[in-house]
Point group: D4
Chain length 248, copies 8
């Protein structure tokens, strides 16, 4: 701020110019984060598709592309996606993950020195697992998928534990009793992001059961996101993966 004021004092800056600069400065106190993040990290702009029409999504994408940015649409059904694709045929739709994304500047992605392990308990958790995996990939991380390794058959997990242990961070997805993050948490030394799913019935209460399980985990190093929030799990994991990779 001092510089701007000195320029005004020196007459090299008009009052109007100074006003605009100061306004920017003031706003930057809160807004710089977004710009900073996008510039340094190449994050796409993210649209939550649920509750938006395909027309709304299409026009938001048009606006983003005009700024030459990447885009990532989550929770978008096949029907909606097909309508959007007619107008934006360069986008890619991932049917299981229900994600529509576009990467203009693939070269921006950092050379990855590690990976995120996306681990899920059962095949019914696939949609959420793929939402996590595809999101992480779209945000520029390498991903290893270790699926169908629920705790009821612990040998399947133990057969794959080394690949999980070597990750920078892991995303553990589980419905029903949601016990998988606790077991994995005791076997790895990196941060674990736990994602409960609404898979189950009866006393699962739409994912409340695995949510409580994960929050009460007696393993250290586990934090939790909302039920079915594969995107949120991935976003957290990518932030950590970037810390690991950017410093390497």
């Amino acid at each position: 701020m001092e510089d701007i004021l000195k320029q005004v004092q020196a007459g090299t800056l008009t009052v109007a110019e100074a006003k605009e600069k100061l306004a920017t400065y003031e706003n930057l106190g809160f807004a710089k984060v977004d710009h900073h993040r996008k510039k340094r990290q190449g994050f796409p702009e993210i649209i939550y598709g649920e509750g938006k029409s395909s027309e709304q999504i299409s026009s938001i994408i048009t606006a983003i592309k005009e700024k030459n940015n990447d885009v990532l649409v989550t929770r978008i059904s096949k029907d909606k996606a097909e309508t959007v694709l007619k107008q934006h045929p360069e986008l890619i739709y991932h049917e299981i993950a229900e994600i529509l994304y576009w990467k203009q500047n693939k070269e921006k992605v950092t050379e990855s020195a590690g990976y995120i392990a996306v681990v899920c308990a059962g095949t019914s958790d696939l949609r959420v697992a793929e939402e996590a995996a595809v999101t992480a990939e779209a945000l520029g991380s390498d991903v290893r998928r270790i699926y169908d390794v629920g705790v009821a058959g612990i040998h399947r997990l133990l057969d794959n534990i080394e690949e999980i242990q070597h990750a920078n961070v892991s995303i553990i997805i589980a419905g029903m009793e949601g016990a998988l993050p606790s077991v994995v948490g005791g076997l790895v030394s990196h941060p674990v992001i736990a994602v409960p799913t609404s898979v189950g019935y009866g006393a699962s209460f739409q994912g409340l059961a695995p949510l409580l399980t994960m929050l009460n985990s007696c393993a250290s190093g586990i934090s939790v996101v909302n039920i079915d929030n594969g995107f949120g799990g991935a976003y957290n994991a990518v932030l950590i993966d970037r810390i690991a990779n950017n410093k390497g």
Copy 2:
């Protein structure tokens, strides 16, 4: 019933005698179970101590002993137990399990051909685990205790899995996230009785979290009893253990 009526017809039974016998018959339709069970299996009579005064407990015990039966008092605090022990010094009090019991006829207990595995996740679950173990022993079963083998350090469980696998039935006790029964359930071929405990804080909601975890277990062969109900878990396990042993 036919026999009684024929005796009346034949005059070898008065109407009054027949009436009493028929009443007994009628009631036995519902009541015989208790007598049958006690006679064949040597079950003690069980008193739930919570909410009863030491005086009430003492006089119930006196009544039971007059029938020459064994007795088992659960959920009885040390203070109350000490008062009861003054009047019934032949009883034994187990402080951690909070159980007071007495066995008059120890020779009645069947020669055990197997055992119940009592498994608990952490040292904080000890009270419930001991309630289960002491109950099972008082009901005449052999018990093996495998404690402090929670899923967050899965190698501790795996180091002890063979002893659990060789049991006739196992009681798995866990608080916090309650994931242990799911893991054990996938490693054994016998019935598993899961007992959630109120151990934990915050989103454990006094045992709701492990209760839901256990009800939603994706491992087969697991059934669940009430929160902190070590006694109930043991009672179920003993019924199964007796089936296994009585037939051997």
Copy 3:
């Protein structure tokens, strides 16, 4: 393990062969259960049909049949089942139970020396009751169905109580207030598996009411599985029924 090492020492086993054998051994520490169970007990492989397409189910069945194993598919709707039956016409579909199953080796089933009582409160609980009954039969147990004996007309239950009392184990299915297991539990001396159903409305809260009722039962010898989990109830009961029969 010692044997394998001695063979290596003796040169009768190559390093590669030993490595594979040891890996098997190591895994068997955790995996042997499944193989053991299937071999000794003739359990079919179980597929949870909900959330899987008929194509997915069909191809899993094909894979199982290649291993010459039995198969049991639960929670499969009539529509899906009919599609699967086109490819696997030798399977049998039970419409009420929503179960599709196949038994190649019927002679493997043990000669039964007892039976499981499947008891339900009302006709609305039929789907869950049949899921339990058909599962138990498919797993090789004899089953007696005692239906529509809810506690609001206790004489119907008392008229059938002897058949329940003579079972090795009983599965009690009830929705609405779920009081039936408590009453039965006081009249039998064998283990009772209680299955709450989501039948009801209003303050039943999709089965929460009977679930809580059963967990709080003051009758001893009752354990509980998830809401509507007829399969789980049957699986538990069969484990106990086999203990009773295998020893006979």
Copy 4:
């Protein structure tokens, strides 16, 4: 109202007198119930003791006695009651029911042509059962106590069912799983008032379990009051008992 106006018209009533009478009339539209009830039925005035000091209770009683009315104080602990009794020694304190009451005009009570059955499941429900029984007696009804007849030992209930069946109305009190009203409801033809209690632990959730059980009862003719509300159950039952007796 017409009468009053006619008297004004006739000059036998001043405007001031008419105004007061009409005000009374107007208020009576809403208030007459209380007076009517007390006069015809001899209901005492009821004080809810919880959260009131013994001083407050004492002075309310003094005020009631000045109006020559009976009084009934519920939920009053022994300590408080003893303080109140110093000032009002003519009152009677019932320790288990935690009720303090006084009956000046015992002759007012109607000649009873029937009774209320107060039925409870276990000895732990005694406090609530006695709150119901003593309240009903203080309100002028005859009461028969049938205690400790929980459903887990159904023969105890069946041994006493005739006494319950002959009542005008019954109050059924139960904690834990709360199944007793359902069973009784199927065996009697009179109205059943169900009172859940907070007796239990774990998944009883302070009486939520029996409350839901009773609300979902598949027996007809059962209605429910709040958890531990023995007073409310009695009040409802007395209203019905009076209908039965007043008409006889």
Copy 5:
């Protein structure tokens, strides 16, 4: 029982005949209620239509009519009812109440000396209110409907309070905040049956809000049935109404 035995003793009854009579006697201990009720009170047999097919309902009705009994089907949709009506055209369908009923012997109905007040808060509660009113009428009671008198416009209630006050018993139906029974309860001296409805949104939680409101009512003389249970409310009210009328 004594009579039967004496006849056997006297030889006027064979053993087989005595056996059957005693069995009846024994069962009557529990079953007589239903017969008694039906005979004395002319209650129709009640079928809960939800979850039953029109074919199932039709055949149950056929069986009931063979016994010359009345029938009442609740929770039956228009579609199902129309199918049933083709086979049983003498039945009457009440579309709002979703009740199908038939009265063969209308003269059996007792001469009514009073009535039940069916009171509801808003027009959205109409379905439940009519379920209550039509049920009560089908069970032989006189009914007065006082609708749309919710507490937010208290003058509407006060304008109708006398008609409610003169009833033998009232059924108060309300959704949303469910405050109506509390207000009515303070204005009448007869028993009030409160029926919460699932009418509302958001924090009504499908009727949980008015259910809790009614259970916590500070007015005396109110008891509660399940959410949307118009039938249950009516059944309770009719039992009380019959006590009032039968004695008159």
Copy 6:
């Protein structure tokens, strides 16, 4: 009342006339509010459209128009509205707000000296926000819409805070975590009405999460209405806005 009585006394009023006048007076004690409000404030009559057929709505509107009053129908779907519009083409339908309204006497609206700020967190909250905004406008207030200013991008809120600060009262609408009212509450000196929405998924539990957030706000001056109750929020705000404007 005195006047009426004096006229009776003087013979200038018959008893019948006096009776009717007094009845009116009595009722006015409770009913005058509605009339007063409508007359002074020009409030339309409000119909809650959900659960009412288009026929029912049409005939209520006809009745209201006969009294020359304004009308406002909330929660009415496009389909229903179109049917109503055929009979009442002078009404206006707002599709997002799902509100149908009519203003006969627009000149009655007070000259507004301030405005209500309607603030919402995300575009998914639009339906509720518009229900609030359109309701407030239909009730005669000026409204400023400040949308899509959720707390996750606090600079968007801060850029618009002055417009919110200058309002007489603000309605803050938010789903998901519902944090917006807390932040706004700390930045304004007028009353804040918080409206939680059911927008979200998983642990939002249909709006329970933002409802609890708003009730627990540590900012002073915030009160809360039901989930998705945009109408209720607006009604409260208009009452306050009128106080501010009517006095100006």
Copy 7:
């Protein structure tokens, strides 16, 4: 901002001075509210006493008094208050309201042209009612207390309704079923702030029942604050009362 820059340009302000002024400006964008409110309205600074020691409270008060401001401490027990009073003897402690307050500049309070009605249902709600009333008075409003007018005796409320109707705003406090705000809301034309209390037992669930009742009120013009939050209710009411009075 423009003025400051022009002064810099003109040389009448140094860079350092301008920097400080601009910083103030920037912060004022968010902070000015508090200062503005206090200066114009004479609001005391408010301390939430729960969880703070009497030492902490004392030193905060000392700091506030140095700024010559008023102070208001809520939720402070008698014990703590007495300790604080030793150091600050000029403060006044209100024992029922558990509020400690101090008014240095009583003349600052605006001449009140109206009042707030504080209405409560029962004597058990007194603590919360007094917290509301004393807070409102300490914030400078006139208060009328209308206590013990619960809906179960509606005539008590109707006898006092005019005093409530004439208020600028009313605070309605109720526990148990919490129906009072709905009834009052239908009888007044001003905003109603509803405060649920934790008074009650059983299914009141610590105030959840009245909270839900109030949120679901079908009366318009009601908004709700947290359970037992008498302070919050008063703060909202005072904001509205000031709007009414400041304009008068």
Copy 8:
């Protein structure tokens, strides 16, 4: 494994030696994590103090010190800590955090290239905030405390936002409405660990409200741990901080 087998083949390893090595290898598959973590990262061994006696804690510490390891005891009250300190006077007790810890080898701690921001909303959250801060320090991280910056006074947060933005990771602690993590999450580009606290009353439901708020946050990059779990928040943050620092 191959190496071991080759040595056996070559005769340089006996069968017994090989067996032990392989056993170690096998176990290491699961156990190596703990050792690895401790060796590389200098993590102390952690004891959860709640529910353990001071004697138990003392003897566990003795055992740990024999292995020359650091120790950290959480949730240990002042009383217990003082008893433990008598036997282990070299330990340090942090009273607010309720943590007892000991660091033998302080030089092992990595040279920190960044810090963790511990941010809390109010002074009542201090205990949990200090549990987080002291834990993080004891685990070797640098910590910056930014306290009392709740969202109701957003300028306090904005004044400190740069210090938070420069952290590697932040722990955000909040009770009541728990909105702080959402606001911070929108202003920083690093991972945010949110810790709800049980601070609050009424509808906070012991921390359920802020827990749900945080799980539903619409800001990306936030994950959540259990209510009051300051330790868990710190553990997660330290794992991330080490990734950031170890790579620098």
